[in-house]
């Protein structure tokens, strides 16, 4: 857990910039008894936002769009990863069926039936 002051110092960030990022919904720190608390994930996310702004010269609207897509992508990753974990625990025969069907699906993406 990091306080607002520590967070600003660690990232060398102006208070107004942080206020904007939170207002835009890019960062969502916890609030404990009225005081903001930042977790390591918030810190890493803020670093990414700064990279986009400074190194890639992405403007505010661009960052907004980027984060929107990034969050969806990570959602997808987790969903696929969850499926992979579940698949690993299936009986070997079922897994084999899954593997073959998937291979067939990706070979013929336009076909919806194997006839």
């Amino acid at each position: 857990m990091t306080s607002t002051e520590e967070f600003l110092i660690t990232l060398r960030l102006a208070p107004a910039t942080l206020a904007l990022w939170i207002e835009n919904g890019w960062l969502k720190p916890l609030e404990v008894s009225g005081a903001r608390q930042f977790q390591p994930a918030d810190l890493a996310r803020a670093r990414l936002i700064r990279t986009l702004a400074e190194d890639f010269a992405v403007n505010e609207a661009g960052i907004d769009l980027f984060l929107h897509l990034l969050d969806q992508m990570h959602d997808l990753h987790r969903a696929l990863h969850g499926l992979a974990v579940v698949a690993q625990n299936l009986p070997p025969e079922t897994r084999e069926v899954l593997r073959l069907q998937l291979a067939a699906h990706f070979q013929r993406p336009e076909e919806s039936s194997d006839g």
């Binding site: 890493a44 996310r45 929107h68 992508m73 919806s112």
Partner: protein, 311 residues
């Protein structure tokens, strides 16, 4: 690791600042771990690129490197932890999950719905479209720091969750550092009418310099006066539940440990409390006392002084 930074970025030694920036952006797009979450090898490669760029984007550092005053490793910094490490499922990024579409289903829910036939996949008519798929929602993870006294007595904390209502966290008395509190049903919503996940709150207890916890017992240091040490007497000891009177025996030296039964931490199991151990520290008078000095100057250990002399 100290490869030529110009080679790393693929630019000539006479490249302009803008060319260097362009080259960096092109490479970062391919190797920045947060822009390539699935590429596990990206991190090592990106470290080189970032180091090279840190060196060459700073005009002064670049000039010093060109003159041979520093080598490429001069700009190496420990790599930060990238966002993808958290977003991929480790605790902490819960606030940014599942919220991509404020209205309606999240991306993950869409995939699972399609997989189990709702909404008519390619073979939906056969695939048991009527079957109702239910799945419990994801757990969310938080960290919460509390003072030692609150860990001792228990209490309430309000956590404003980024994506939901405020959580009322009841801290049970005797909670320990690192303990995880589970708030059932306070996580993310389930799929298809499945139950909510849980909120898991990891407690961090701030240490209190007065009370050192070892197991269920609390250890305290207590300064006492020289006269109490020699003659014994009644002293007041701070405990987490308030000051308590305690008898000090005669000739209690520095390092003597006394026990206050049942004044320790509430036990995690089986009820009751641990004990509080009080280590005595004999303190000479402050400021120095002239009479004491005079006495010690004439005092020979083992010999009885002249009792009541001068009284």
């Amino acid at each position: 690791m100290s490869a030529d930074p110009y080679q790393t970025l693929g630019v000539s030694r006479t490249a302009s600042a803008e060319e260097i920036r362009k080259a960096y952006r092109t490479l970062a797009k391919r190797y920045h771990p947060d822009l390539n979450p699935a590429n596990k090898a990206a991190e090592a490669r990106f470290k080189e690129i970032a180091t090279a760029y840190a060196l060459l984007s700073d005009a002064e550092q670049r000039a010093r490197f060109d003159r041979g005053e520093i080598d490429a490793s001069g700009a190496e910094t420990p790599p930060p932890r990238y966002y993808r490490e958290y977003a991929s499922g480790a605790p902490g990024a819960g606030a940014y999950r599942g919220g991509a579409g404020e209205e309606g289903a999240s991306t993950a829910e869409d995939i699972l719905a399609e997989l189990f036939g709702r909404g008519g996949g390619p073979r939906g008519e056969q695939g048991g479209g009527e079957a109702h798929f239910r799945m419990r929602g994801q757990d969310v993870h938080y960290h919460l720091q509390i003072p030692f006294l609150e860990a001792f007595h228990g209490g309430h904390q309000r956590l404003a969750m980024p994506h939901g209502p405020t959580l009322d966290v009841r801290i049970p008395p005797g909670v320990r550092d690192g303990q995880i509190l589970r708030l059932r049903g306070k996580g993310l919503p389930g799929f298809g009418g499945g139950p909510h996940g849980d909120a898991l709150i990891e407690i961090k207890v701030e240490p209190d310099p007065r009370f050192i916890l070892k197991g269920d017992d609390i250890h305290t240091e207590l300064p006492i006066s020289l006269s109490t040490a020699v003659l014994g007497g009644r002293v007041t000891v701070p405990t987490p539940s308030g000051p308590v009177a305690m008898n000090v025996p005669e000739n209690a030296n520095t390092g003597t440990v006394l026990r206050l039964r049942g004044k320790g931490m509430p036990k995690a199991e089986g009820g009751g409390h641990g004990d509080q151990y009080v280590t005595l520290l004999v303190k000479l008078p402050e400021p120095p006392d002239a009479a004491l000095r005079a006495f010690v100057a004439h005092w020979v250990p083992g010999q009885a002084p002249h009792p009541r002399e001068g009284e």
